[in-house]
Symmetry: C2
Subunit: 439 residues, 2 copies
């Protein structure tokens, strides 16, 4: 092998690859998200990472399309999925007759976007999505369940300092209807979406550049400045006395959502109405959500989504309204780690490393079997090495216990259990060892 | 949306996509594999699906290379990983200084091969790999641990009718050394590997076409015909009296592996020595494994692997011997389903569906919260529908329990629990409902 040409081992920029300690934490967190989604009865879904370009790009265009990994294999145009929503739309249209509606599914998987490389931006990243898809219609109570899922998820991940911002696109759309500037709606929404980043003055300047009248800009500002508690905001919205049916519908939905969000036991400190949230895209048509970690708003929303009128119009005539959210998990993990908010204190899966001193490998195997039967992850250090090296292995991996087997142990049928955190050791029966470890 | 051009929703051939019922089973099985691997203390690893072609194809060539999904993005040559071994080699070379050896890792993930489409062959499929990588050396006892992992994995998956076939490449290599036909070794191994498929006569014919002398063909046949119990086979191998050092080493290793496989409590009916297993590739250098489901040998090996001398020679000068196995899970799942060996009786994640009759949505939300706090996956049927439709939903998804809330229930604070399998119903307190469901 000495004369072979070697290639430098490396990982592509924008692709996350973790050392074991971080990977353990990463997996634990993904697993908690999955378990939380399942507590709400969502069904698992998995779709291919590779799809026909024609299918995947049925709707895409502009910026998204440029970022997509597309390629040919034989005479087929293929693409890597860039989100989990398009595959969901395809799936629901394709298997419509075999699904039960409302179809509640989660999908956790990798998606691909060839974005410009920068810190915290990944080209391969996990999304953790849930969506509830109705057949023709879908009750607004579903919109109130979503914040409950977001809240439970982040609490199960160990966070309590988050705030779910809720809005309803009908309120914004109704506002424009009321002011008779609906033709500029999309552009205005994009500007409003930047409010937090660029501030009110810059928003007003951009609106003015869009030829929105001074009077209307003032009304928009008044609207955006609505403040107070959740209930005060709803009352102020009602007090505006707008005639627009869309506006009234939006306020009514928002009020209903807030009522049930409270019943779902989302705490007041964990949600708020934010009338500035538009979620840029013209995909969403009702309730919209963003989630921030308090004190860390600069990392952006950690969980977003909303209500849409029709999921799969590009694949089927069926009207399929839905509501859903997505956690961009890879980026979230990166940010939590950077901010020192990750508690990655587990470096091993094994709870026990079994080492022998010259004799007792048979005993080691037997003990290993018994520990496994008791659901205790363990391993035998099998290499020929000094006892110090064997203990170092456990030490490096922070395996909490070592069982040491030497001549005395084999003779007595009792084994030395060393607690690696305290250094203390005791000669115990296998039964007592198990009791000690489980305790 | 009515005038938009629609695309037919479809999934690429060779890419598995499951309905919820099968996906639940698929995930449960993958999870059992993962949990079993972790019981043996293996660390999780995850590498990108996309890698630089130069890195990924450092070693590849011939048939493999033709199957690889390669493409350009900007000026970069990229490829989708075609197995989890090459990424492991890259990873260990790249992070050598940060890993603790022996490095025990598992990786469960999708790999891509543009194979000719045929039933049961997938272009995107899961591999479930474990490997133990030594730094310079690795005890043969590790080779004995592998069958224990295979056995525990399949038992945890609910199978007991499997047999792990064990051989050692040094025995075959030593045989050729002994017969002085080592120059033809690779070709001969490929022929022997087909023994089960094509039979002894065809093997002899192919050997003869390779210009192996009649005398040597007879010796090979004698060798391949060694039969009897595991211990008889080892004794017959020893009795051949071969001088080849390699041969003797192989027999000695095999004997050691068998001894410890027994200590690891792999049952006699679940393993055997099979001297014909070569595992085609010239990658393996010692112990090799294949696993068959008894009575279903035609689906081929469901878990294979072996010992290799050096994992990462194309990336580093470090000598990194290892032993590992891989389960081709997607194909296994397909075959088990085709054979009717899958018990996919769970169509939902939810244990309870909560339905209301006009009133009591608030109560429904509260009960849902309490059930979740008690770790019981549940969902509220929130749509406006007749009670029959609401029960049908639970029925279609085979959700085992329905809680029905009407006026009487709201008044009394007791709720109707309907057992969907028996049809029986009872008016109970929430506490009693939980007790009933957990029971």
């Amino acid at each position: 092998m000495e004369d072979i040409k070697r290639v430098e081992p490396r990982t592509l920029s924008g692709f996350m690859e973790l050392l074991p300690q971080d990977q353990i934490k990463f997996n634990e967190m993904l697993d908690k998200i999955k378990k939380t989604y399942e507590l709400y009865g969502f069904l698992p879904q998995e779709t291919p990472i590779v799809e026909s370009s024609e299918v995947l790009l049925a709707k895409a265009g502009g910026e998204t399309e440029k970022q997509i990994y597309s390629f040919k294999k034989g005479d087929k145009d293929l693409s890597l999925r860039f989100d989990l929503t398009v595959p969901l739309a395809k799936y629901v249209a394709q298997y419509y007759n075999e699904l039960t509606f409302p179809y509640r599914r989660y999908q956790i998987g990798k998606v691909y976007r060839g974005e410009r490389a920068q810190k915290g931006r990944y080209r391969e990243f996990y999304q953790c999505d849930i969506d509830i898809i109705g057949d023709g219609k879908l009750s607004v109570i579903n919109d109130a369940e979503i914040p409950s899922i977001i809240s439970t998820t982040f609490k199960n991940l160990g966070f309590s300092n988050f705030v779910i911002k809720i809005n309803n696109r009908k309120i914004l759309n109704g506002l424009f209807e009321e002011l008779d500037i609906s033709d500029k709606m999309t552009d205005i929404l994009i500007i409003i979406d930047k409010l937090e980043k660029i501030g009110m003055e810059a928003v007003k300047k951009e609106l003015s550049e869009l030829n929105v009248s001074a009077e209307n800009i003032n009304k928009i500002e008044d609207f955006l400045n609505i403040s107070g508690t959740t209930d005060e905001k709803i009352n102020k919205l009602k007090a505006l006395g707008f005639e627009s049916e869309k506006f009234k519908e939006g306020v009514q939905e928002l009020e209903e959502v807030v009522k049930y969000v409270r019943l779902f036991k989302v705490e007041e400190e964990n949600f708020m109405i934010d009338l500035t949230i538009a979620r840029g895209l013209d995909y969403y048509t009702g309730t919209v959500y963003e989630t921030n970690l308090k004190g860390y708003e600069s990392i952006g929303s950690i969980c977003s989504g909303g209500r849409y009128e029709n999921l799969a119009g590009y694949y089927t005539k069926k009207n399929l309204p839905g509501v859903g959210i997505s956690i961009g998990f890879t980026r979230l993990f990166y940010n939590l780690k950077e901010l020192g908010l990750l508690n990655t204190d587990k470096k091993s899966i094994s709870k026990v490393s079994i080492v022998t001193m010259g004799v007792g490998l048979e005993n080691a195997v037997e003990i290993s079997n018994i520990l496994r039967d008791n659901n205790i992850p363990n391993e035998i250090y099998k290499e020929d090495a000094k006892i110090k090296a064997k203990l170092n292995y456990a030490n490096n991996l922070e395996i909490p216990y070592v069982i040491i087997i030497g001549e005395e142990e084999v003779e007595k049928g009792l084994y030395t259990l060393k607690d690696m955190s305290t250094g203390s050791q005791e000669l115990l029966s296998v039964d007592d060892i198990i009791k000690e470890i489980i305790k």
